[in-house]
Amino acid sequence: MDNLILPTKNTWCPGCGNFGIQNVLREVISQNDREKTVLVTGIGCHGKIADYFNVNSFYSLHGRAIPSAVGIKMGNEELQVICSVGDGDAYNEGIAHLIHAAKRNSNITVVVHNNRVFALTVKQATSTSPKEFVGSTTPKGGVEEPINPMDVMLSTGASFVARGYVGKPEQLTRIISEGVKHRGFSFIEVLQPCVAWLNTYESYNEKTYEMEEEFLPLQEAREKAREWDYNNGGEIPLGVFYREEKPTIEEQVGEVSFVDTKEILEKSK
């Protein structure tokens, strides 16, 4: 027994894609230093994972898990910060935080549980729902095109960009492990069907494929990211698209140390 799961009652729907992510994260955390791991989550079905894991956790506000995670890493660089967020969380409410965490190369790992729907609030469209998605607030189908977060991340400085699928758990475990090991901002989108509102198992099983070549040059990674438009067109590539070594924000901001206030006062006379 790894003692990683709390006896909390699990309330995800039977067959929910979140179980797959939980199993993978359990594997990844058990390979790491459990005491140094902090799991940060937003609000949505994915967020419940904070209550299920027996690890340090910060169950943040909707959309705000990423700045909380950035702050935790700023506060103590020794902590291994894994940030689980939903698509509503990271692509709708908190997309500015996602982009800026990538831009500043904060040394955290962001795992997006992308079920492409607001599930816990009972079926509304998110930024990555298919355009014509019929939800409880779009009874005639949506009118907005989805965004392509992989493309956004590759354009805004993320130093590790990958996509996995809960239906391919071995590859997903490898991707998340590499993301956690990567020194810098790791972005991992996980395709996670919602059995209640947007059951995409069949279509993902058919359309996803594991990329033969990973770690592409930036331009090629971008082209690869555009292969799937988050509607119904195109094949869906899985794997690590891009990785780059560059300084993290935590390495570059000032160190915390003793401040001599007497000296400051003397100088201000």
Binding site: L6, P67, G71, G75, V253, L265
Partner: protein
């Protein structure tokens, strides 16, 4: 004007970008080195270049944190400064202006006029145009009879960039100017640290062990970040928004770092969800709220005390905060220290309510108080640790050790796992209320209300109006009452202070009488409200007139 300079009011003004603010501070530091007490009021428009900026320096032998309507010296870097302020000159006042930049001869209008050819001076020393402010300060110091050794010493210290060139410019200006006054030592006073309210808040927090300061730029709170960014040993960070600021601060505090954040009304509004999170998750959070004229964008660089009700009620849900309202830099220093300590001791949000005047004006800091750093008792906790255990304040452990630390914005059980159970919800609310009661108990022994003098009329005020109220009522038999802590509100102490009084006047810089409303809710009734809401601080003269009505 006599030969012995005593209390002085000096205005130095120019276009934004001409460095009149820096020059004002230099003049303040010069008088400070002569042992005078100095207060500087800043007035500027929301523009980068052009517009009109001025500093008014109040020089006195005793501490007096006010400016007066009439001035002794007007130092003008451009024509607008002359036109805007010359009416304020006393009959024997002196106009000193940049002859060259202003090709008009104001000497014909009567009164003393001294023309300084700043451009000529700067050119002679081969300086750059921006050094005109150094030249003007130096010329002024000569006029009032300061000694070159003292002047050059202060300039050397205060002008770390292009020091030599600035000194050359200053020396030429000093030599070319005629001495007409005789400055004396300011009554044997020792020079004081000169700090703005923003800087004093930063200092007080540093003495409470501040480790991280996060903020998004917003006038008039930006000075805190600018100041701390230059302090070695503090981690400063400017994220993408105030929402990111507050959530990052919660993260850093969870990780164990004493963190403070700051903004003005609009940015503070964005932070409120995070403030509520602090209350629920019991993560210490200390917020500087520097008020400016609202609503919405309002008048960004001008004064108001109109976020009192907002600060007292910020955050959704049944939640409590600690809110302080300092009235000068010393109180800002002391109360910021207190607020950060209380936030950590009681694991709750604390708000330091400043206003534009307090934030940006410069004060001599006496620091006649003792400061503490609340030590967090680090109990060794093992696997069985529960973040929310206990009756009121829970043991605070940071992640990274054997204990698993779970925090959440959901209502939760003692482990930190979300709950919807009726008895657990109720119990957690009561736990947080008990914490607040404990805080109230502690504050009973503290000076949460200051009173000054006695009289049958009581004047209640808060924040930066303090200096003006003290000065305006100098000759009046009135009782002055200043709440320093505004949540938990010290109504008992205020009622006690009012016991012998017959009439209550409340003075504040807002349009609706927010403190009056708070007092009314607590059963204290105000007979007369004196309000000011034109973005400018009260002057002594106008407040006196209002009080005499």
């Amino acid at each position: 004007m006599g030969n012995n300079l005593g209390d002085l009011q000096i205005i130095i003004g120019g276009a934004a970008g001409e460095g009149s603010k820096k020059a004002g501070l230099l003049i303040g530091k010069l008088f400070n080195s002569y042992g005078f007490r100095v207060f500087i009021h800043e007035d500027y428009e929301s523009v980068i270049k052009g517009g009109h900026n001025f500093s008014q320096i109040s020089v006195s032998r005793e501490c007096k944190d006010v400016i007066e309507e009439k001035i002794d010296f007007l130092l003008a870097l451009n024509k607008e400064a002359v036109l805007k302020h010359k009416e304020k000159l006393k009959k024997e006042g002196v106009l000193i202006y940049d002859f060259g930049a202003i090709d008009e001869d104001f000497s014909e209008e009567g009164g003393s006029v001294i023309k300084i050819p700043l451009k000529e001076i700067v050119d002679e020393a081969e300086g750059i145009p921006l050094m005109k402010n150094t030249a003007l300060v130096s010329a002024f110091s000569k006029i009032i009879g300061m000694e070159w050794d003292r002047v050059s010493e202060v300039l050397k210290r205060e002008l770390p960039v292009a020091t030599e060139k600035n000194l050359e410019v200053a020396e030429v200006a000093f030599e070319k100017t005629e001495k007409i006054e005789e400055v004396e030592e300011g009554g044997g006073n020792q020079p004081l640290p000169l700090l703005s309210g923003n800087q004093a808040v930063a200092m007080g927090a540093l003495e409470a062990g501040l480790e991280c300061y996060y903020a998004y730029p917003m006038t008039p709170s930006t000075g805190v970040l600018q100041f701390l960014a230059k302090v070695e040993g503090v981690r400063t960070f400017q994220p993408e928004s105030e929402i990111a600021v507050v959530n990052a601060a919660l993260g850093s505090a969870y990780a164990g770092k004493r963190t403070m954040i700051g903004s003005s009304g609009g940015g503070f509004a964005l932070m409120t969800e995070g403030i509520s999170f602090s209350a629920q998750s019991e993560i210490p959070l200390c917020v500087v709220l520097s008020q400016r004229m609202g609503p919405a964008t309002g008048v960004p660089t001008y004064q108001a005390q109109a976020d009192l009700l907002f600060a007292l009620n910020a955050g959704h849900g049944d939640m409590m905060r600690f809110v302080v309202a300092p009235g000068d830099a010393d109180e800002a220093y002391y109360l910021a220290n207190k607020a950060l300590n209380i936030a950590w001791k009681y694991q709750m949000p604390a708000i330091i309510l400043l206003d534009k005047e307090l934030s940006e004006n410069t004060y001599g800091v006496k620091k006649d108080f003792d400061l503490e750093k609340e030590e967090i008792v680090r109990e060794e906790k093992g696997e069985d640790y529960n973040r929310y255990e206990g009756e009121d304040v829970s043991p605070l452990i940071f992640p990274g050790g054997e204990a698993t630390v779970k925090v959440t914005g959901y209502e939760h059980d003692k482990k930190g796992v979300a709950t919807e159970k009726a008895e657990e919800i109720k119990a957690m609310h009561e736990k947080r209320i008990r914490k607040y009661e404990k805080l109230k108990e502690e504050l009973r022994e503290e000076e949460t209300v200051k009173t000054y003098k006695e009289g049958s009329t009581a004047i209640i005020f808060w924040g930066s109006t303090k200096g003006t109220v003290l000065e305006a009522t100098k000759e009046m038999d009135v009782k002055l009452i200043q709440p320093l802590v505004v949540q938990p509100f010290p109504e008992e102490k205020i009622k006690e202070a009012l016991r012998e009084t017959e009439r209550v006047v409340c003075v504040e810089a807002n349009a609706t009488g927010q403190m009056t409303k708070v007092l009314k809710e607590k059963g204290v009734f105000v007979d007369k409200k004196i309000l000011k809401y034109d973005g400018r601080p009260f002057t002594v003269e106008e407040l006196r007139k209002e009080l005499e009505k």
